[in-house]
Symmetry: D2
Subunit: 259 residues, 4 copies
C-alpha cells in the first residue's frame, strides 16, 4: 500500500480538464480547496496514490505523486525566466552531478535549476547558491521548501563579484546577466578538471563568454542549444503540436585545468 | 590536492588534436599506451587532476577526471543504437529518478541509459535491467564496469515478455522493438502514480504505443523529441555547426493509475 | 516617380503598432477606413509608394506596395489551414515552376499555394485547380482576385476522384485529405519525368502515400519538413523569438517515369 | 510525345545507385560518357523523357528533364558556399520576385541564388549581378550557361562599394562578407517600398546589419533561419534521417521607405 505521507508532494489530476494541482501536504491544515470543491487533509492522507478522490461536491480528481517536472512546470512561483527541464536535465548531466556532490551556483533565479541539482545531489549532497537579489532569495527558498529540497540547498544572499567562499567543489553553474565579468571567480572554487556550466539567453552573451574564456585556464569548450518538440497524441493523426518553444537559452560548458 | 585513485575514471585530453582517451585506472596494469607513447600507471596516479602529463616520447596530454558524458560519447562499446545524453538526461528527469530509488528497464542495449540512471541512483539505489540477448548483457555489463557503475545495476538475462519479477518500483523504462506488446507487463511492477518511459525511433512505433495505451490504466501521456544543436565557438564568427543529429528517438511518458 | 495604380495592391503600414493593412485599390470606392480615421482613394493614388500618408484624423501610415507574403499572412481569408510561405516557396521551387508553365493542383483550399504558383507562372502560365467544396472555390477565387491573380488560375468545382481533364502538364500538386487514394489520377496528366508534389499534415498520411507509391511509375521520392525560426531584431540582445511554429506539413516529392 | 531538345537540360538517373547526372545537351558533341559506358547524343535526342536509356555496355539509366534543384545540388560548380534551395526559394518569395522584374544582387558567388532568381524572372526579366572577384564571375556565368539562364543574368565585374549603376529596381539581394558597410548603396537603386534581402552566415554579422539599419530609411525588418529536415522513406519505419544540415545562413529582410 502506498499512501501519501505528512510531507508528500502530491498531484491532484483533473482528467476532464487535463489540469494539475501540485500540493505539499505539510502546507495543508485541514483541507485543500479547488474550484470544484474541497478535499479534507484526512482524505488525502487516507487515499492510495494512483486512485481517484472526490471533493465534497463530488468532483473527481486522481491522487498522484508529483514529479519534479510537475513542480517546475506547474507550481514554482516565477520571478524570473526559469531554466526549463530540457535544459536543466542536460546541464546537471554535463556537470556530472552525482549524489553527495558539492555544487555552487549563481544566481538562484526562481530555483528551478537548483531543484534539479538538489534532487540528484540528495541528502548527502550540497548545493550552495549565491544570489544578490533578496526577493529572489526568498522566492527561491519558498519554492524549494515546497518540494522538500530546501534542506539540500544553502542560499547566500551575496553577489558573485565578491567571489565564492567555498573551495574544491565538484561543479559550478553560472546563470547571471554578465557572466564574462566573473568567470575567474566562477572557476576558482572548482576542483581541477571539473566542469563549469553557463546559461545565457542571447548570442551576444555567448560571444562575450567565449572571448573571456581565451584568458582563462579552461579546456574543451562547447556551446549548444536544445529544442524540444512535443507531438499530438492521436495515433491515427500523429503530428507535432502547432507551436513550440523556439528558444530558452544557450548552454556553455568547459573544464577547469590547472596548468 | 586531488590525485586519481586506483579506480578513477580519467580522461587524457590531447589538446592539439582535441582528442579524448577515457580510461579506468583499475584496468591499467603497468602503463597506458597511446599512439604518441606510453604513460606509466605510477605517473598517472601521481599527477594531480587538471595538470599536464607526458608520454615517454614527450607528448603532452592533460589529465582530467572523466565525466559520464565522456564515457558515453567516447568509451562505451556500442552494439546497438545508444540513448544519447540529450535524451537520457531528460528521460531520467521525467521518470523522476532520485538517489536510492529502484528502477526497472528493458532492454539494456549498450548500457548508456543504464549508466545515466545508475549515476543518479547512487549506491543506495538499484537499477534492474532485463535483456534477452546475451551478447548485449555481456557488453553492457562490461561498459558499466568501466565506469564503476556495475554494482548499482543488476542485469537479468530475461525477456520482458515473461514479465518483471519485481514489485513496487519507482520507475520503468522500456527501450525494445515492439513495446506495445508488453505494456501491461511494463506497468505491472510500477507503484501506482509513478512514471513509465518509452523510447522508440519511428513514428509507426509511436502510433502503436499510443493505441495500446487506450486499454491501459495510464494517464497524462506525452510524446516529444529533442533536437540538440551545437555551435562553433569562435566568438567573432558565432554560428551553429554545419551538421547536426536530425533524429535519435521519440520519447513517450505516462503515469500508471490504479482506478 | 512610383505611384499606385487603380488596381495596385498596397500596404498601409502602421509604424507605431507595427500593424499592416493590405488593400487592393480596385476595391476602394471613395475612401479606406481605418480605426484611426479615413483616407480618400484620391489621396492613396496621389501618394508615392514608400511615403507617409495621413488619415483625416492625422494618424500616419506609410504607403507601401504589398508583397505576396503580406497578402498571404495578413489578408487572405482562411477557411482551411493554409500552405505557409516557407513551404509554398519551396514547393514551387521543387516542382520547378517557371513562367508560362501549366500546373494542376487539387484542392485549392484557401488559395495560398495557388497564389504562389500563379505569381511565378505569370500571365503566360496557367494554374488549373480542382476543388470539390464549393465554399472553398468561392473563397479562394475571392482571395486570388484580391491579389489580381484570378486571371491566371482556372478553378474547377470537381472532385479529383473523377480525374483531371488536362494532359501534358508541367507539374501536379496534391493537398487533399487522402491523397493515396488518387495518386494514379494525380500523375496521369503529368508529362513524363515531371514532378509531383504532395502536402500532408500527419505522419500516418506520409506512410499511406509512401505505400501507394510502391505500385506507381514514380522515382526519386523524398519526404521533408521545413522549420522556420524567427529571431528578435535587437542587435545587442540577439536571440530567437520565444515561440515558433512547430509544424505545418510534411512535403513529399516524386518524379513520374514512363517505363 | 516529349523528346529532349538540342539545348535541353537532362538528368540521367541511375536507379541502382540512386545517382544523378545533370547534362545540358548543347554541351554534348557526339556522346556522353558515364562510368558504365557511353550514350550517343543521337540516342539522347531520340528517347522520350521519362523513359529508360542504355549505355553501349547495356547499363540502364532513366532519361529525365533536370529541375533547377537537380542543377543546384548536383551540377553547379561551387567556388563558394552556395545559397541552398530551402533558403533561395524563400528569399525569392520574400523579395516578391515576379516574371519580368528587374533585380540586383551582389555578389554572385557560385550563382545558385542567381539561378533561382533568373528562373522566376524569365526571359522578360533581368538580374544584374555585381561581383568583385573575377574567378567567381567566370564560374557563375559558366554555371548559369549550363542551365540556359545566362541570357537573363547580366554579370558586372564590379565592387558594390562603388555603388550600383541601376535605378528603380524591384528587389535587391546582398550576399557579401560585410554587408553593413554598403547598405546605403544597396538600397539606393531600390524602388521606394520594395524589398531588400541580406544573407549572412554568422550572428555577429546579423548584429552589425541590424545596427546599420538604425540609420537607414527602412521598415519592417525581420531575421530568420530555415531548417530543413528530410525523412527516410520506408513507410513501415518512418523517421527522420540521422543527420541534417544544422545551419546555412540567417536571412534578413527589410523594406525601403522614402520618408
Amino acid at each position: 500500500m502506498n499512501y501519501p505521507r505528512e510531507d508528500s508532494i502530491i498531484l491532484l489530476y483533473d482528467k476532464k480538464k487535463e489540469k494539475k494541482h501540485v500540493i505539499n501536504l505539510k502546507d495543508i491544515n485541514n483541507a485543500y480547496s479547488t474550484s470544484n470543491g474541497m478535499i479534507k487533509k484526512e482524505a488525502l492522507l487516507q487515499t492510495e496514490l494512483g486512485k481517484p478522490i472526490k471533493t465534497h461536491l463530488g468532483y473527481e480528481y486522481v491522487l498522484l505523486p508529483a514529479t519534479l517536472n510537475d513542480f517546475i512546470m506547474k507550481k514554482l512561483t516565477r520571478l524570473t525566466q526559469i531554466v526549463y527541464p530540457k535544459d536543466a536535465a542536460y546541464i546537471a548531466f554535463r556537470l556530472d552531478i552525482k549524489p553527495g556532490d558539492t555544487v555552487l551556483e549563481s544566481g538562484i533565479g526562481s530555483g528551478a535549476m537548483s531543484a534539479v541539482f538538489a534532487q540528484i545531489l540528495g541528502k548527502n549532497g550540497k548545493l550552495i547558491s549565491y544570489e544578490k537579489r533578496e526577493d529572489f532569495v526568498k522566492n527561491a527558498l519558498k519554492n524549494l521548501r515546497l518540494f522538500n529540497l530546501d534542506n539540500i540547498v544553502q542560499v547566500k544572499h551575496k553577489d558573485i563579484k565578491d567571489g565564492f567562499d567555498e573551495n574544491d567543489v565538484d561543479a559550478v553553474f553560472i546563470d547571471i546577466k554578465e557572466p564574462w565579468l566573473y568567470l575567474d571567480k566562477a572557476i576558482e572554487p572548482l576542483k581541477c578538471g571539473k566542469m563549469l556550466g553557463i546559461l545565457v539567453p542571447t548570442v551576444n552573451q555567448v560571444s562575450f563568454v567565449l572571448k573571456a574564456f581565451e584568458n582563462l585556464p579552461i579546456l574543451g569548450v562547447d556551446v549548444s542549444e536544445i529544442l524540444h518538440r512535443f507531438w499530438k497524441t492521436n495515433p491515427e493523426r500523429l503530428r507535432p503540436l502547432d507551436v513550440m518553444s523556439a528558444h530558452t537559452a544557450f548552454l556553455i560548458f568547459a573544464r577547469k585545468v590547472c596548468l
